[in-house]
Amino acid sequence: MTAPHAVGSGPSGSTSSGATRVLGGLSLAGLALLLGYALVWSPADRTQRDSVRLMYVHVPSAIVAFAACALTTVAAAMWLRRRTEGWWVLGGASAEVGLVFTALTLVTGSIWGRPTWGTYWDWDPRITSTSLLFVMLVGYLALRRIDNEAGDAAQRGTRGAIVGLLLFPNVVVVHYSVDWWRSLHQTATITRLDPTIEGTMLFTLMLGIVVFGLIFAWLLVHRFRVGWLEERVEHAGLDDALRARRAEAGVVAGLGGGTA
């Protein structure tokens, strides 16, 4: 990971601050250490051999994805109680970052499954419920975007908040029902990790979880601030909006396609 925020945050402004620079630096340092442990210093697994090295990226992604999903639900609940903008923006930010990690969880799980199970996709309870989580996050984000277009701050939000509030409970219900459903077919689910994992392997896994947590926090803070700025831009008056649009056009042209 590069740290684009470190390139310099001039007076023109960005979403970086002292805190994100510290977070970004820690993430990068941790990532370097994790790469060392995951790819070089940790031993190969007896049964999975070196494909176990994918676990050090897959398991942390999955944990972060589900944590992001839980955070979205918390943010929705807080928004329904307090109705303050911050919680609304946080819900969207954690859902979007969570979507990225959910996608990565599915992709790495698939890549790991090919050498281990001999197939990219298995109807394992975790794969099934993670893929449903992916769709739910997509739906939640779609609803928020449409809700945003529909009107101003006073009008929007409740729909999105209800869906956000139900997001995590739904994922839990889906997970357990899928688990129950599959457990009838295969009495012994293939365990992804040796239950008696210990030593360097356990340490690497824990390190991976910490590092991915840091990366998640870094992304979340930036994404939250982007959402906050979007709100400011939307709330700006018509004159401001016009001026901003002109400025944006200039910036986009200048950057050669910075995302709008």
């Binding site: 769709v135 739906g139 779609a142 529909a150 729909r159 209800i162 139900l166 029902s177 459903w181």
Partner: protein, 223 residues
């Protein structure tokens, strides 16, 4: 609350009876889905008989989407939503009434589909009580969750495309539970199905409770 629910349910069902959309469009669609599954899955290899429970519930899900869309289209036309909000009816009653109307339509569709599955897919009923209990519980769950997500998507420009993506993942437990339960009732051992039926009951009760509580907040929102 219950009186309001009965009022709303009665109104929706009267609208349905008069417009005949369910009988003339949704029910034929349900039969069409069964025919399409038959064409898509080679009928000679016995796949249809083995998969009939799953296919039945997938067809029900598709029909439920149509019925839910329909239930909220009749409200958004002519400002019916505003009228409902100003009517002073209990929001929980409105929710239960809408859900009951959807549930009754779904129950009628399930009868059509069940006859279709028995005749066209050669399914064999071995546990009638389980079959009926599953239908009741699953339908209540579908209608409750459907009404809640239906009102969320109602009034939005893209509701037709948004509702399936919001609702179908949530209904995955219903699909799983109802299918497993049906497998037990259609040629399996009935006692295997009852725990799944319990899951369906729990799902339905949860969504009925959530909908009853949340509907007021959602109805107040202007859109």
């Amino acid at each position: 609350m219950l009186r309001d629910a009965a009022l709303i349910a009665g109104k929706d069902l009267r609208v349905e009876l008069r417009s005949q959309v369910t009988t003339q469009q949704v029910a034929p669609f349900a039969v069409l889905v069964l025919i399409l599954f038959g064409v898509a899955l080679d009928p000679d290899r016995g796949i249809l008989a083995r998969a009939s429970s799953g296919l039945f519930w997938v067809a029900v899900l598709f029909c439920a989407l149509l019925a839910i869309q329909r239930a909220f289209t009749i409200e958004s036309a002519d400002g019916g939503r505003d009228a409902l909000r100003l009517s002073g009816l209990d929001p929980a009653g409105i929710f239960l009434g809408k859900a009951a109307a959807i549930a009754l339509q779904l129950a009628a569709l399930e009868v059509v589909l069940a006859v279709g599955v028995v005749i066209m897919y050669g399914a064999e009923v071995t546990g009638a009580p389980l079959l009926i209990a599953t239908c009741v519980a699953a339908t209540a769950g579908l209608a409750a969750a459907g009404t809640l997500y239906g009102v969320l998507a109602a009034g939005l420009r893209v509701r037709e495309t948004l509702l399936p993506i919001l609702l179908l993942p949530v209904l995955a437990p219903v699909l799983i539970g109802a299918t497993k339960s049906f497998e037990a009732a259609l040629g399996g051992v009935a006692s295997d199905g009852w725990p799944w039926c319990g899951l369906l009951v729990a799902f339905a009760l949860t969504y009925l409770a959530v909908g009853t509580l949340a509907f007021g907040t959602l109805m107040e929102e202007p859109s």
